[in-house]
Symmetry: C2
Amino acid sequence: MSAATRLGDTRVVVVGGGFAGLYAARALRTAPAQVTVVDRQNHHLFQPLLYQVATAVLSPADIASPLRWLLRRQRDTSILLGEATSVDTTRRTVQLDGGQELPYDYLILATGARHSYFGKPEWESLAPGLKDLDDAREMRRRWLLAFEEAERTDDPEDRRAALTFVIVGGGPTGVELAGMLPEVARFSMRDDFRRFDIDQTRVILLEGGPRILATYPPDLSARAQRDLESLGVEVRTGAYVTGIERDHVCVGAERIPTKTVFWAAGNEASPLGRSLGVPVDRTGRVLVEPDLSIPGHPEVFVCGDLAAVKNSAGSWVPAVAPAALQMGKWAARNVKRLLAGEQTQPFHYRNKGDLATIGRHRGIAYVGGVKLTGPLAWLFWLFVHIMYLAGFRNRLLVLVEWAFAYFTYQRGARIITDRDWEGTGRSL
Amino acid sequence: MSAATRLGDTRVVVVGGGFAGLYAARALRTAPAQVTVVDRQNHHLFQPLLYQVATAVLSPADIASPLRWLLRRQRDTSILLGEATSVDTTRRTVQLDGGQELPYDYLILATGARHSYFGKPEWESLAPGLKDLDDAREMRRRWLLAFEEAERTDDPEDRRAALTFVIVGGGPTGVELAGMLPEVARFSMRDDFRRFDIDQTRVILLEGGPRILATYPPDLSARAQRDLESLGVEVRTGAYVTGIERDHVCVGAERIPTKTVFWAAGNEASPLGRSLGVPVDRTGRVLVEPDLSIPGHPEVFVCGDLAAVKNSAGSWVPAVAPAALQMGKWAARNVKRLLAGEQTQPFHYRNKGDLATIGRHRGIAYVGGVKLTGPLAWLFWLFVHIMYLAGFRNRLLVLVEWAFAYFTYQRGARIITDRDWEGTGRSL
């Protein structure tokens, strides 16, 4: 009896190998169907640690695993490396780059979001965001090269601009980047340079709203700001960025000379959502039904950062990894229910809490109404992430590497490998 | 008393941060001079393990360390990230990209070699070589994507070509690549694909000469060939490549359909050597004096793969890491002798032996007239490399990672991060 006979001809296609897509594919292991996972990348990424790659604490390989490896035991699941360009819900096909078409009986769409620049796409090359490993490597490259430029230049103003790093956006990503940069500079680059003092490094965090970490309780926001300031970060709230150029950032009338700007200020859902022909919200997220399917097409489910769905309290489910993971699993279960001739069930979001780190041994956590700060929150963060990482990378190896990275601040991750570093438009 | 007063104004410039340049800079630690090291890359690379990055066994960060970190304790040594474009021996300056000029009193030039294509530069994009981390990442990317293409295509001939890997050149690099590829495929990708059998992978090693590893004794060459064949590698000697196209390689009249060709067949010295205005050999290597200086300029030394020098037996010193390391140290010592008003001394090469691995637990070694083969040679190789790596990366960490890589064949290293993988000209 061949696999095809045993399973029938039911085809489930999962687009996206992030938290939502991966956990959907895993939950489909026991489904009587042929599952195909499509992704542009060959790996699943542990996105919550991406800022550590961007700041040269971890290496790309530490936080990514090949999708084929993660799904290797599911013999009825195949993986295609390719980019889905649109969905035809009438013909029930997914279009891939290169013209290939993938027919489906059930579709789980989980292509996530990219950063958005509020109608200023020209800012993207000047202020890269942080969504995938290439982004992280680009940030790392820029920030390491800025120090090289400071060492090479003879002009004090040039050096000052090279040593000034501006982060736009005071959400968790902006806060984690801002907290890590001064610590890595101070510890791991302490003895590296001869022509300037590493303590001249300035990190400025710009937030347009009245406080950073706006989704946390106000006292935790205030604490995070104090923690950042104690690390030497200049935190500016109510600071709207009005212009970004190669050598400065404008905040209203003020001009901050800087050669390195990072973007952590806004997201926009994957354009694939719009191709479904159903209503989307302002950022392009698909307004899904309570069971995560789309209006008029009970065979199409959308999850992760691409889906706009409300929790039982009537507020939007946040675009965080645990929510994506839960949605992915849920969509897969609903597909299995349909395959078994049952009704789908509405999705319920279980909020496991909010967690962010500040520098290398402090954190902010808000979990089940309990507030944690300082080293305790950091230890909690470490514990949660090591638990999650299990199954992706070996726990021991990650612990050893982190221990090295944290306590010695070393080397391996501080490598610039892009041959075309001259091509950044820098004078360097 | 400032450093400048204490040291006088003597400036030593080292160009290149490979084995020769790094060990020259280290040996200059005790020299009464201001030392400047210039390199295009911010890291020193442990080149003998590069083929393990290319075959997705190790990650780039495992075999590279930032130059600043390696030289951090030498307070009188500074590092400039930049590309030296030429040397003016009359004015005693090194020209950098961007127009900057670096004056020197003593110069140590160690900019190494690149692969050469025997007058066929158009082959470079079709058959990348292996000299730096970008090369290794490019090889890894191509070889991982070939399997993805095999999984995605519906055409059996296309799939066969995608699963055929051709390596041109039977020296140590070619042999090590050829031995590792089938093992990594067989072990680490065993469960990865659904539409073809991984045992269909073909690896073909083409050598123009009568035997592989031509610098080894003939019986060791024969043993290496048998070992490769037992791993499933097709070894062809006397096989001149006459053409490389996107979908095939020509060997005389024969046409081998393949989508992935790697180049390990020839080297050419850095063009900087020619700018010295002294005689060079056919491959551009500078014909140095016995003390490694150049004719007419006792203040300029050339070492590593850029230098052509004879050993005491009258044969050329080989272009290998231990030779480069010895030359770098020697040139630095000669600079120190000159600074102390002494005579320079002629360089003597101490041959520490030849070593190559074949697959994941066999090797070939020829050390002090003693021949080792099989697992014993491999263990010897492992011991030597771990000893060398000490001081670059922590020994424990490297051992742990290798143990993982070797015994589990896993994941981290198998990540494709280049956003533009569509841009390879593949139909993929």
